[in-house]
């Protein structure tokens, strides 16, 4: 069944968009990531103009993250205190990121920076996660719970505003979540994605949060940044297609519920393994695209 999109001004297959929604929702439920790094290219592949794909993406992220947020809230899997501090940091980061984005755009280097950021960030994060997963697999029985985190580094320990985060059972500086949110916020603005795949590992390895609480807390933060960017895109770029958004949301909310159910049955380590594999895989795929000559040397862009 084809549906005509009023803003994209084209018709798309409902089933295909629905399937993308389910996939992204599922990932959001299991891993607490928005899945923007997958769905934006898939929508463009369907023929949706890139600007509309990016803009509409934010409305879908708002829906899936709100659904996932509540599902996690009911299970008590969210550290609201850390999440709120991260949101504060990410709003600051967003603003700086938008400034950097415009600077790079004027220099004409934005595409290069985005492509390299994707490959390096995904690559490094994916490999680090894989390495950690293997390490904890081999050490699991001997030294459970004695992992080293960046937050234990003397520099981070010396930061002021020490606070207790009872939910996560962490005692650290309140500046730490703000810093994570801030750095994530910069990347979100530059790369135009929800940033879950950066925030989730950062929360696990940098803050040392329990894996159980990470997806929910990440979704809590994505909920805010996605809603913010949805309104921004609609106001300044007129690129939010609500019909496309609703179709994605239909699939997305369904997928999220499956994902949350699946997440409760998957062990933390297994989930981390899957995410690490996926992130590394996408990074390799993108790196391959940079090295091998493209299949279509010529791309036609009709704005």
């Amino acid at each position: 069944m084809n549906i005509y999109l009023p803003i994209a001004e084209m018709s798309v297959s409902f089933e295909a968009v629905f399937a993308i929604g389910i996939l992204v929702g599922f990932m959001s439920g299991v891993f607490g990531i928005g899945g923007g790094f997958l769905s934006t290219p898939l929508l463009i592949f369907l023929g949706v103009p890139p600007t509309v794909a990016v803009g509409t993406q934010s409305s879908q992220l708002a829906a899936t993250s709100s659904s996932g947020f509540i599902a996690n809230l009911r299970r008590g899997n969210i550290d609201l205190k850390i999440g709120t501090l991260m949101i504060a940091g990410s709003l600051l980061g967003n603003t700086l990121g938008i400034f950097i984005f415009h600077l790079l755009k004027q220099l004409g280097q934005i595409d290069v920076v985005i492509a390299l950021l994707y490959v390096f960030l995904l690559g490094i994060i994916g490999m680090m996660m894989l390495f950690e997963c293997f390490m904890s697999l081999s050490k699991q029985k001997k030294r459970a719970g004695k992992q080293k985190y960046f937050s234990h580094h003397p520099f981070f320990r010396s930061l002021p505003y020490k606070t207790r985060f009872p939910k996560s059972k962490i005692y650290m500086s309140a500046l730490m979540p703000v810093i994570v949110g801030f750095l994530g916020g910069i990347l979100i603005s530059i790369m135009g994605i929800g940033g879950g795949f950066i925030m989730v590992p950062a929360m696990i390895y940098f803050l040392g949060m329990p894996t159980m609480l990470v997806p929910g807390t990440s979704l809590f933060q994505i909920l805010f940044s996605a809603s913010f960017s949805c309104v921004m895109h609609a106001s300044f770029n007129h690129n939010v297609d609500i019909i496309l958004g609703i179709m994605l949301i239909f699939g997305g909310v369904l997928g999220t519920q499956f994902g949350v159910l699946a997440a409760s049955r998957i062990k933390g380590l297994t989930a981390r393994f899957c995410l690490a594999f996926m992130i590394t895989g996408v990074s390799f795929f993108l790196a391959r695209n940079l090295i091998l000559p493209p299949e279509n040397l010529y791309q036609v862009v009709i704005p």
Binding site: N2, I3, Y4, P6, I7, E9, M10, S11, G47, S59, Q60, A62, A63, T64, S65, S66, S67, G68, F69, I70, A71, R74, D111, V112, A115, L116, S227, C230, V231, M232, H233, A234, S235, F236, H238, V240, I242, I243, G245, I246, I249, F250, V253, L254, T256, Q257, N289, L290, I291, L292, P293, P294, L297, Y298, Q299, V300, V301, I302, P303
Partner: protein, 252 residues
Amino acid sequence: MIFLLKPLFFALITFFVLNLNLSDVGATERTLPDFSLTEDSIEIGPAFDGYTLSVFGVKPKEMSVVMTVKGPEKIVKVEKAKQIFGVWLGKEVVEFRRVPHFYKFYITDDLQQNLSENLKKKSSLGLKNLGLYAENISDNDQIFENAMIAKLQQDDLYALGPKEISLINDNFFKADIHLPPGISTGIFDVNIFWVNAGEIAAHQKKTFKVKQVGLNAKIYGFAMQNGFLYGIIAMLISLMAGFASILIVKKK
């Protein structure tokens, strides 16, 4: 409304054709070149999945017919991937201006073999005579143009070759214009040339409009005029959909 008009038009044409057949003698003198479109406005709603409209026309017996249909003009960019330090990161961009987003051309069967270049040029028939041009011209411009045309052909927006104008009888012809789902909104020009002995004897132009109607048109208008409010509403719909899904799952 449109759906009612089409059969009515058919009936009228059939009546006309039959009448003319009865008094075929001297038809040539009385048949003045003319044509009509079955629709002058195509409405796009949420379920739009392409549309076919028809052209009906009259011609003197000895004449052939050439028709072009052009859609709204757009700026099209063609990007060629380039290697920088061994990595495919760069691109060369060629920008074409005033490119018709839709272009198809039609001829009567007798012109298949003897269509002169001169006639093609005069009636801007065929992809070579579209007059496409790029702002920043490089040596390989033709390759960029070809890449653009190939993409538009792939989306059924451009014709691969001439389509047929079918003859109902010696004096009447008909052609179907298929608009694919990816059509863009705007004014479309239908140009018909009546050709006698290789020369253009008459020319007529008519237009039809493709526009969004109903909910689609309202959404488009609201989003363009009131972006901020539209964004807030889009956000609220999204959040509510997320919350609603939880309630549904909870009940089950």
